[in-house]
Amino acid sequence: MVGASFAQAPAGTRTVDPVPESIYLKGHPATLPVSLSVLIHQQRWAEAAELAEKFTLEHPRDSTGFYWLGVARQKLHDPVRAIQALRSAERLGLGTPAFHIVLGIAYYNLHQFVLFDEQMQMTIRSEPFRYEPYYYLGIYYEDVLNRWEHALELFHRAAELEPDDPRSMYGAGYCLEALGKRDEAAKTYEESIRLIERNSGRFSGPHQGMARLLLDTDPYKALPFAHKALELEPSSPSNHVILAKAYERVGRLTEAVEELQLAAYLSPTDPSPRFALARVYEKLGRSEAAGSERQMFEKLTRIYGP
């Protein structure tokens, strides 16, 4: 049985591309300028949005221009104007399953979950063997509703339909961890890690999950997982926090402080690294620093919530 309480799991450990390339509209209509395709391929989204907008003004009956305008705006974290462009594309007749996924994700980003769910169900009805709607619905049930059992079913279904996707597998592991099924969670994380290694992926979730599970029972085993998670996604504050916790458990307190300071720097409004810092400073006998971090923890908790 692997240990560590789920309460230690940092929130928001996973990130999801708002529009994964796998669901891009396929093909290139003759009317669409080649330069726009180049910008999309190079992921130069601000320029792509500008060009797509120009194209929609010149070709107001062409749904493709509005579609790419919507995708680009979504990539630029502008869900409102993304929805407006995608709805224009829909009114002009675009309605492929992949399109409904993109529109659904835009609704999700605006926290319009009723409409998000509707788009995902439409996709499932018209193309039941696509994994993406199950995956995104899994995220919704896990992250927003905290309905772990149902989220687990959805992630399992997504993983069945796309066995090479480490994120669906990780999602299932995360739900198992939340449900207290730690051994099963560990097995699922290991499977997800194998998929990442096979595909040379840069996703740190399952390594972090393994480190979290091992923290209390075998922190020395947790360390390499925490290191690998950080190597895969060095800018993730939660990866620094997990590594710091592993260092703390094995008595490498100075290194724990360094990691927690980095986490606090990367995520300055998150109270949790401050709390951990206060605890490690106490262990190091640095009462003044500990007091200052505790104060900062209380202040951030009051303003930003726990």
Binding site: P18, R81, I83, L110, F113, S267, I303
Partner: protein, 267 residues
């Protein structure tokens, strides 16, 4: 598990940031917790709200809110739509419109800080010709106090840095104290008006000419001429132009009223 964070953009839009008012930033709560976000029931309902949220002109915002309210009378988005309308009326200096739309907002969202502050500021300007002026001023005071209470409870999105929030909160608290000072002045309670306006003017991280102007006027009414002179000159420095003109006019009046004290410079 998170999508890339777009909550602040969303929150600010749905709270009416398009109206570019500082106080618009206050209302984070409805969207901070995704479970509490108002939900459109159909794509058309959301389309109609997004047209309001992205409207560039106040007149258009008001038109679209009225259409929205008539077409979707039970929409969960109606509260934020009315807030947008309140701010649009404020942009147009239409006090009666502010009062009407603000009241509708508070019926649906009683602790909407943006609207509480907007109404608290607007009411003292609207009491002159009213038979129930005293009751109105009580209401403005209650709104300002409620806004101050809510500001201690607001949970701020992580996208807003601690430094930015410190400034925003200071600005909003200053607005509430300015309203309380204005109310006190209307009631003829000048010492209370002075203390509230001092709180507003001196503790605002972004000093405002209008707050120094009001304070200067109250100082003058209390016979505190040196302080009045300083506050009015600060108001003239800070502007904007309308406040500068008012402050300079008041300084002239001050000089004329107290020639024996020596000239108070207006430049």
């Amino acid at each position: 598990m998170k999508f890339p964070r777009s909550m602040l953009r969303v929150a600010l839009l749905l709270i009416g940031l398009s109206q570019s008012l500082v106080i618009s930033n206050a209302q984070f709560d409805p969207l901070l917790n995704p479970r509490g976000a108002p939900q459109a029931k159909t794509p058309e309902e959301l389309d109609a709200y997004l047209e309001i949220a992205t409207a560039q002109e106040s007149r258009v915002t008001i038109e679209k809110v009225e259409q929205f309210a008539s077409k979707y009378p039970s929409s969960e988005l109606l509260g934020v739509a009315y807030q947008d309308e309140t701010l649009a009326y404020k942009q147009m200096n239409d006090i009666e419109g502010v009062l009407r739309a603000g009241k509708r907002t508070l019926e649906l969202q009683p602790n909407n800080v943006t609207t509480l502050l907007t109404l608290a500021a607007a009411i003292p300007n609207a009491v002159e010709r009213r038979s129930n002026a005293a009751e109105f001023l009580d209401q403005a005071e209650e709104y300002a106090q409620r806004a101050l209470q809510q500001l201690t409870k607001v949970i701020v999105p992580h996208e807003v840095t601690l430094e930015r929030w410190t400034v925003m909160r200071g600005e909003m608290e200053a607005l509430a104290h300015e309203a309380l000072g204005h109310v006190a002045a209307k009631r003829g309670n000048l010492p209370r008006a002075m203390s509230e306006l001092e709180e507003a003017a001196f503790h605002n991280p972004t000093p405002q000419g209008s707050q120094f102007y009001r304070l200067g006027v109250v100082y003058a009414m209390l016979g505190k001429y040196e302080r009045a002179d300083q506050a009015l000159r600060r108001a003239a420095d800070l502007g904007p132009d309308a406040i500068r003109q008012l402050a300079l006019r008041e300084l002239k009046r001050l000089n004329a009223a107290k020639p024996s004290r020596g000239q108070v410079h207006t430049q």
